[in-house]
Each structure stands twice: as C-alpha cells, then as structure tokens.
Symmetry: C2
Subunit: 279 residues, 2 copies
C-alpha cells in the first residue's frame, strides 16, 4: 500500500509501441508514469572528501552486452586499424542505457534534467550499499524494501545526507550467466530491483540523490516490463539512478563515496558511465 | 632537433586513405608512426587525495561539435519520446574521439592499452596547467615547448610524479568560433598543441602519465594533418592523452587533481569523457 502522495497512479499512458520499437522491453503490461516534476535541488556538500583507494564499479561494455529484450544496443565499427592505416579508430552505435550507465531524470519524465545538466557535485556522493544477496539467491523476483533500509540504519545509523543507495543483489557476478537477464519462456525477466515503496521512502523520508543496482533495471525485472514504478517515481522526482554496477562485494556498506563519470552529452537521457568508488 | 632515441622517424607508413576514410583528418602529408611499445607501468600513488570542490572540465557534446575534417562524428536518434511513449531514449552514433575525450595508447600504436585496460588509478592524477594563452593569441600555430615546462618548473618546482600536464592555450573559450578548428582555405588547421620535443622531454626526463589540451589535438593543427608526431610518440609510449578540455582558466596551475571518467568499452581507442578537476 502506497502512502498518500504516492505517484504510481497518476498516469498509465506509456505506449507499448513506443517502448517496443525502442527495444526497451518486451512483455509490456500497463505502463505507469508520473506527471513531470521539477528537478530536485539538493545543495552540493562542501565537506572535504578524502580517499586513498579507488575501485572500478563498471563492467566492460562489449557487443552483445545483455539487454532485457535481447536487442543489440551496442555495436562497434572499425573505421581505421593500425595494421592498415597506422591509426586505430572506432565508431560506436550505442543506446544511452548500455552497460554500466546512468539514468538521468529525463529518461522517465517529461522535463527532468538531462545527463549534461546534472552538476558534477551531485554525482560525487556518499555511497551506501544494502546487501540483499542471500534473499536474491533464493528468489530472483525479490526487491529492496523499506525494511531492508531500516535494518541497514539500525546497524549503521541514518542514511548519510545526499547519498546514493545501492542494492547489492549479487547480480554483478552473473554477467554471462542466463540469470543476469533472468528471461523465462514467457519473455518475462526475473531479476531483483528496488521496491516502489523503498524508492518512495527514500524520496519522502530521507535526503538521497541517487539509487543504484547491479542489475539491468532500478525496478525488478517483472516491473521492468512496462509498469516501471521505481523509474517513474524516482527519476520523475528529479533524482538519478545508476544501473549495472560491478564489484559491489569489494566496497564497504558505508564510508566510501561514489563518483559517476558520465559523458556530458547535450540532451542525453543517460549514458555509459565510469562508476568509481573512492575509499 | 630531437634528442637521441626520439621515435619520430621510426615509421612513415600511415596511409592517407586510411585516415581520410575515417574522416580523421584532411591535408594529410607524410605520416609518422612509432613501433609498438609495451604499456608503461607507472605504479598508482597510494597517497591520500582530498578535495572539497569539483570543476567540470568537459564541454557538452552535441551534433555538429567541431572536428578538423568537418565530418559529423556524433549524431543522435530519438528512439522514444516521453510525449509519445512515456519514456525518453536516444541512440548515439559516435566516433570515439568526439568532444572532450581520452586518447588511449592503442589509438596510435599497434598494441598499446585500450581505454578499458587503463586502471582507474592511472586516470586520477595530479593536474598541472601550463599557460601559453598569450603566445597562442598572437600565433595559433604555436606549441607548448620544453622551455614552457622549464619556466613552469622554475616557478612551481619539478612536475609532480605521475601527473597530467595540460596546455591552456585559451582555445577552450573558442568553441563556436571558426578559430576553434582554425581551418584555412588550403584545408590546413591552425591550432596550438604540444611540440614533439616537449612530449619527448616528458617521456624521458619526467614521470608523467598523461598530457591534455584544450584544442582538438595533442599535436598542433598543422601537425595533425598526417604526421602526428606527438600522438605517435606519446601514445606509442603507453601513455594517455585528453583533448578538448574546458574551463581551464578556473583551475590552479598546480595543486588540483584530474579525474577522467571514460566509458569502459572493450577495445576502445578512447571515448567521450567526463573530465573533472578535484580541488
């Protein structure tokens, strides 16, 4: 049950055609969208950030990197090679949401910030990791819930202001395994994600800038077939997300910072991103 | 006059056809390449890095962003729009060296590191800015020379180990102005860059991980018509470069760090990059 003000029911007009033609999903059900909200203006922290170690949280992107639909979202053309031309040069054809990537607010909103508009200072934030690996191993349709956040806070204290909350489902280790997309024979996907109530709790009860997952979608796979309740509410609130994170077992559940190096492309709805933990 | 061991004359076999077909350049003269060198293994610093301010050194990339050849290296296709589809999603067609971007060693070598192979820790480095704006304003064909480095060191001390040396020619303010590409009526380009002797000095006499420019090329425009002496020697030595930096007037000539968030694309010769100064 969603609390008052929950945006899930405000719009149910996403088109099956539009999402399908983009190769964005399949098995699309009733789609859910929120009315456009202005971007959230969370002040950048002026606190000093110090680190002496970096961990790369990005998967390497390659032709055939998994997508829910199975469509190829990334291809490479070799324009010149050193053997022939004494220079190596490639051209990519890439859907913005390929591999480890950012979702900008505009991805699921009418007038949210595009990727180039998000200030750098809003993409260098305290990093919180919530571990649901054990539950996800038993049930790929599980989700990160408000209870998981409450448990994390009981151990670590209230979520740091302006942080990114990342779900560690263990899926970052499944790249190359059919479980990574979790396709079934009815073209549904079985992968963990945020529960809509957890996203809503973080928006209304905490001051959080971003959420991240080690799966292909902020939503569960089953909710990424059209409804996308987390995408619509979270991105619609002006916040960003990051998907397909790697190496989450290597970072502490609190204390690190996350830096997202997203190409600054005018009007982008996201982009392939170098995600870095500063420890 | 190049010192002994200079690699400029080791190979003159780059093909005009190969570079031209890629839209990489025009007015190609005799091309120069070095034999392949193994990647440089400079140990990552374990020193603590602290910052409380960030400055975005990236230009926003857009269709029509300048290239020397005038070819369009970046286009966007809108696969879905919120107005029609309740989701915004784009596909890019992009040559790896568009906008603010990294040159990986493989770009101008047979077997150098690809962008995904460069460790994150090698792309977070002390940032040195050498200002040649006054000279470049008078002569767009000028270059950053060993004398400029010597003058910088006389004021600031020896270059920090593992740093990136960036040329501030003032060109970062010329985006949108014909001077940015500096095309003349003979299809040559007049823009500043590193002198080959400066690159060689940094390789042989200092411990430097990268060089950067606020122009379209590590080389001068006139040397980017085929010879590319700095590209061949610098990248051929296993080091990286970064081109088209922005906002260089906003950062100190020493004391900041540079972080390059380059998409981790398997086999990439470079890539559009979020360049960030940590201050």
């Amino acid at each position: 049950m969603c609390p008052p003000g929950c945006l899930h029911s405000m719009c149910r007009t996403a088109t099956r055609r539009g999402l399908l033609k983009s190769g964005f999903t399949f098995g699309l059900g009733a789609a859910t969208a929120v009315a456009s909200n202005p971007p959230v203006a969370i002040a950048a922290t002026s606190a000093k950030i110090a680190f002496s170690e970096t961990i790369d949280l990005s998967h390497a992107l390659y032709e055939g990197f998994p997508t829910f639909s199975g469509d190829k979202w990334f291809t490479v053309e070799h324009l010149a090679t050193f053997a022939k031309d004494k220079v190596n040069l490639n051209r990519w054809t890439i859907v913005e949401h390929s591999g480890t990537h950012v979702d900008a607010p505009i991805h699921f909103s009418a007038d949210g910030m595009t990727a180039d508009m998000i200030p750098i200072s809003d993409m260098i934030v305290p990093l919180v990791v919530i571990d649901i690996r054990a539950r996800a191993a038993d049930n790929p349709d599980t989700s990160l819930t408000p209870d998981d956040i409450t448990r994390w806070e009981a151990k670590n204290g209230v979520l740091p202001e302006g942080c990114c909350v990342v779900m560690n489902s263990g899926w970052h280790k499944l790249l190359g395994n059919p479980k990574f997309t979790g396709n079934d024979d009815q073209k549904r996907n079985h992968t963990p994600g945020f529960h809509a109530e957890a996203a809503h709790f973080l928006i209304t009860e905490r001051k959080v800038k971003g959420i991240g997952v080690d799966t292909l979608s902020l939503d569960t796979g089953l909710n990424s077939g059209g409804a996308f309740p987390v995408h619509y509410e979270w991105l619609g609130s002006g916040r960003w997300g990051v998907e397909c994170l790697a190496n989450l077992d290597a970072i502490p559940e609190v204390g690190a910072h996350l830096l997202l190096g997203t190409p600054k492309v005018r009007g982008a709805t996201g982009g392939p991103t170098r995600a870095i933990a500063l420890i």
